[in-house]
C-alpha cells in the first residue's frame, strides 16, 4: 500500500508496459497457461473492485456477479452486432470502447442498486444485492435479444493478455489512489463508523453510491473481458456462486487490503487448476475456509501488521 502512495503513476506505467510486453510474447505461451493467466487478470479486476465496496467502504455486497453479467452481456451484444458490418481489424480497435460501454451500463446498474441500498445496512444490504443479482439473471434468462437461457455464443475471442492486465492495472490504480486520496478517506470513514462520519460532515450516502458505481463499472469491464475470453456466456455462469467466489477473495485477502486481495485473487484462481483431482471438494474447502477464517482470523490470511481499525464491521 505504501508503494502506491509514493509513486502510483510510475507503478501504473510499469504495469502497463509489462502488460503490453507480456501481450507481445503471448503467442509463445501455451494457450492453456495463457487462458489461466487471463483468468487471473479478470479475477484481480473483480476482487479489487469488490474490495472497494466490501472492504474499503464496508458495504457488504453479494451481487458482484450481477454487475459482471451486465458488462458481459452488453459488450458481447455490441461486438456481435458490430461484427455484422466490419472485419476483425476494425473490431479490435473498437474493443476498448465496447468494454467501456459494458462497464458504463454496469455502473448504471450499480447506481440503481446503490440508491435504494442507502437505507439499508449490513445483512439487509447483503440480501438486497443478492436479490438484485438474481433478478438480473432472471431478466437475462427471459430476454430474447440476450439469447434467453442458452445465452450468447460465438463471441469473437478478443481478450488478450495485454488488454486484461492493462485494465487490471488501471483498476488497481484507480481504486488504490481513490481510497488514498483526501476524498477517498471518506470511504474508510464510512466503513469505520457511519454515524461519526456523517457527524464530521461527510455524506455517507454519496460515498456508498460512488463505491457501488465505481465497483460496478470495473465488474462490468471484467465481465466484458470474460465474455470475449470464454466466447460464450449463459445467465447461469453469473450466479450467486460467482459472486461468492469474489467475496472469498476479498475476505481471504483481508477486507480493504489491496495487495492481499490481489494475492488472494491469484491464489484462488490457480487453486482449482492445481486441485483438479479434488474438484468435488473445492466448494467444501472454500466453505470451511470461510468459517475458519471468520472465527480465527477475521482480518484475512495475508494481514500481518497490526491495524487500529477493525477489519470487518
Amino acid at each position: 500500500m505504501q508503494l502506491f502512495l509514493k509513486a502510483p503513476r510510475a507503478l501504473l506505467l510499469i504495469a502497463i508496459v509489462a502488460a503490453v510486453a507480456a501481450g507481445l510474447c503471448a503467442d509463445l505461451m501455451n494457450p492453456y497457461y495463457r487462458g489461466v493467466v487471463i483468468d487471473i487478470g479478470i479475477a484481480i479486476i473483480l476482487a479489487v473492485s469488490l474490495n472497494l465496496i466490501n472492504g474499503h467502504t464496508g458495504q457488504f455486497s453479494l451481487g458482484h456477479a450481477g454487475f459482471m453479467s451486465v458488462g458481459a452481456y452488453v459488450s458481447a451484444m455490441i461486438t456481435l452486432a458490430l461484427r455484422q458490418s466490419m472485419g476483425a481489424d476494425q473490431l479490435a480497435w473498437l474493443f476498448l470502447p465496447t468494454l467501456v460501454a459494458g462497464g458504463l451500463v454496469a455502473a448504471l446498474a450499480g447506481l440503481l442498486v446503490g440508491v435504494p441500498s442507502l437505507r439499508l445496512r449490513g445483512d439487509y444490504l447483503a440480501i438486497v444485492t443478492l436479490g438484485f443479482g438474481e433478478i438480473i439473471r432472471v431478466i437475462f434468462q427471459n430476454v430474447e435479444a440476450a439469447g434467453g437461457a442458452s445465452g450468447l455464443s460465438g463471441i469473437p475471442r478478443m481478450t488478450g493478455l495485454a488488454w486484461t492486465f492493462i485494465l487490471a492495472a488501471v483498476a488497481v490504480y484507480v481504486v488504490a489512489s481513490l481510497v488514498n486520496s483526501t476524498y477517498g478517506r471518506g470511504f474508510i470513514a464510512v466503513h469505520d463508523d457511519e454515524v461519526a462520519a456523517s457527524a464530521m460532515g461527510l455524506n455517507p450516502t454519496r460515498y456508498k453510491v460512488t463505491a457501488f458505481v465505481i465497483g460496478a463499472f470495473f465488474a462490468g469491464i471484467a465481465g466484458g473481458l470474460f465474455a470475449h475470453h470464454k466466447t460464450s456466456i449463459t445467465p447461469q455462469v453469473f450466479d450467486f456462486m460467482k459472486s461468492f467466489e469474489v467475496v472469498v477473495m476479498v475476505i481471504l485477502g483481508g477486507m480493504g487490503r489491496t495487495a492481499g486481495v490481489i494475492l488472494a485473487a491469484v491464489l484462488l484462481t490457480l487453486a482449482p487448476e492445481f486441485l483438479r483431482s479434488v474438484a468435488e471438494y473445492r466448494m467444501i474447502i472454500y466453505a470451511l475456509l470461510i468459517i475458519f477464517l471468520m472465527i480465527a482470523r477475521p482480518q484475512g490470511l495475508f494481514h500481518f501488521e497490526r491495524r487500529k481499525r477493525s477489519s470487518a464491521a
Partner: protein, 334 residues
C-alpha cells in the same frame, strides 16, 4: 405415487421441468374455480414459507442476524423424511397416519439438533463479533451443508423423489377442493403456529425468549441464561424448518440438496415482508408471498419471471416500508 404427481402444483424452482401443471379437467373449469384453486395452491406454498420464515424471524429476534443456513436446515428436514420414511415403515409397522406423524416428529427432532449444533459450533464463538462476520460465517455454513450434501457419499446432487407418506384423496370444503397433501400442509401449519404461539406467549421459556429479544443484557441481569435461550430458539426454529421440509417434500415430491437456497431466500423475504422479528408477521408474509407467487406463476407473460418476484417484493418493501407489514419501528442508538 406416480399418479398423484400430475395434480401437484408447480415447484418454486426455475427448472422448466416443473412448470405449472394442472390436471386436464381443471382447464375446463370456470375462472372462479381456477382462482380459488390457485389460492389453495398458493396457501399451501405459503404455509411452507411461513414455517421457515418463523425460524429466520426468531433467530433475528434474539441474535440480530440472518441465519443463512436456515434454508439448508429445511433441506435437511426433507432428506430426514426421505431416509426415515422407509425405515419407520420397516421397523414400526404403523398405520399411515401414525407412521407419518412419527416421521414428522423424528425429522423435527433431527433438525432441531442440527440447528443447535450449527449455533454451538459456528455462531457461538462469534457472539460478540461484528454482525457482518457472523453473516459471512452463516454463508459459509450454508455452502458447507449444501456442498457436503451434494457429494456422492452423502445425498448426491441428483433430485430424489419424496416418498408418498399418506394415501391420496380429495377433500371438499365450500367451493374449494384440497388434496390430502394440501389439507395436511395447511392443517399442520396451523397446529404448529398455534403451538409456537402458546410456547412464546404462555410459557416461562417463551417469556424468557421475548425478554432476550427485547433486551439481551437486561434479560441476563434478570437471571435468564442467554446462551440457553439462543440454543432453544435455534432448536425451535430448526424444528419448524424441518416440518416445512417434510411438507414441501409431500407437496412437490422432488427434493435435492440445493432446494434450500431458493426456498430459504424466499422465506427470508417473507420474514422481511411481515416485519422481521415479528412472529405473526412471518406467518402472514409467508402466506402473502406464496399466494402472490402462485398467481404470478399461473399468469402467462409473468410466469417466467416468477423467481424474480420475491426479490422485487423485497426491494420494494425495503425501500417503502422497511419495517414490514406488521413490524414496529426501531430506533438505532449510537
Amino acid at each position: 405415487m406416480g399418479s398423484s404427481v400430475s395434480s401437484k402444483p408447480s415447484l418454486p424452482d426455475s427448472s422448466a421441468r416443473f412448470r405449472h401443471h394442472l390436471p386436464p379437467n381443471d382447464l375446463r373449469r370456470p375462472l372462479v374455480n381456477e382462482i380459488s384453486q390457485q389460492l389453495v395452491n398458493g396457501l399451501a406454498l405459503g404455509a411452507v414459507y411461513a414455517l421457515i420464515a418463523i425460524g429466520y424471524t426468531m433467530v433475528y429476534g434474539v441474535l440480530r442476524f440472518i441465519n443463512f443456513a436456515h434454508g439448508d436446515v429445511f433441506m435437511l428436514g426433507s432428506f430426514a423424511g426421505y431416509y426415515l420414511a422407509p425405515r419407520v415403515a420397516q421397523w414400526f409397522p404403523l398405520p399411515g397416519w401414525a407412521g407419518w406423524t412419527l416421521v414428522m416428529v423424528l425429522s423435527m427432532v433431527i433438525c432441531a439438533a442440527i440447528g443447535i449444533l450449527i449455533e454451538l459450533l459456528a455462531y457461538r464463538p462469534l457472539r460478540d463479533r461484528p454482525k457482518l462476520t457472523v453473516l459471512i460465517t452463516a454463508i459459509g455454513v450454508s455452502l458447507l451443508i449444501e456442498y457436503t450434501c451434494q457429494h456422492k457419499a452423502v445425498f448426491g446432487a441428483s433430485q430424489k423423489a419424496f416418498p408418498d407418506l399418506l394415501p391420496a384423496g380429495v377433500f371438499k370444503l365450500g367451493g374449494l377442493s384440497f388434496n390430502t397433501t394440501q389439507f395436511v400442509v395447511l392443517g399442520v401449519t396451523v397446529v404448529l403456529l398455534a403451538a409456537l404461539t402458546f410456547i412464546v406467549k404462555k410459557t416461562r421459556i417463551g417469556m424468557a425468549m421475548r425478554a432476550v429479544s427485547h433486551n439481551a443484557s437486561a434479560a441476563s441481569l434478570m437471571g435468564i441464561s442467554n446462551t440457553f435461550i439462543i440454543s432453544f430458539t435455534f432448536g425451535l426454529g430448526s424444528a419448524l424448518a424441518g416440518a416445512g421440509g417434510i411438507l414441501y417434500g409431500m407437496t412437490y415430491t422432488g427434493i435435492d440438496p440445493l432446494m434450500g437456497v431458493n426456498v430459504g431466500l424466499k422465506a427470508f423475504v417473507a420474514a422481511v415482508l411481515g416485519g422481521i422479528g415479528n412472529l405473526p408477521g412471518a406467518a402472514l408474509g409467508g402466506m402473502v408471498l406464496g399466494v402472490v407467487e402462485t398467481f404470478a406463476g399461473g399468469m402467462s407473460g409473468v410466469s417466467t419471471y416468477r423467481d424474480g418476484i420475491a426479490f422485487a417484493i423485497l426491494i420494494i418493501i425495503l425501500i417503502f416500508k422497511p419495517t414490514g407489514l406488521l413490524g414496529s419501528k426501531q430506533i438505532e442508538k449510537v
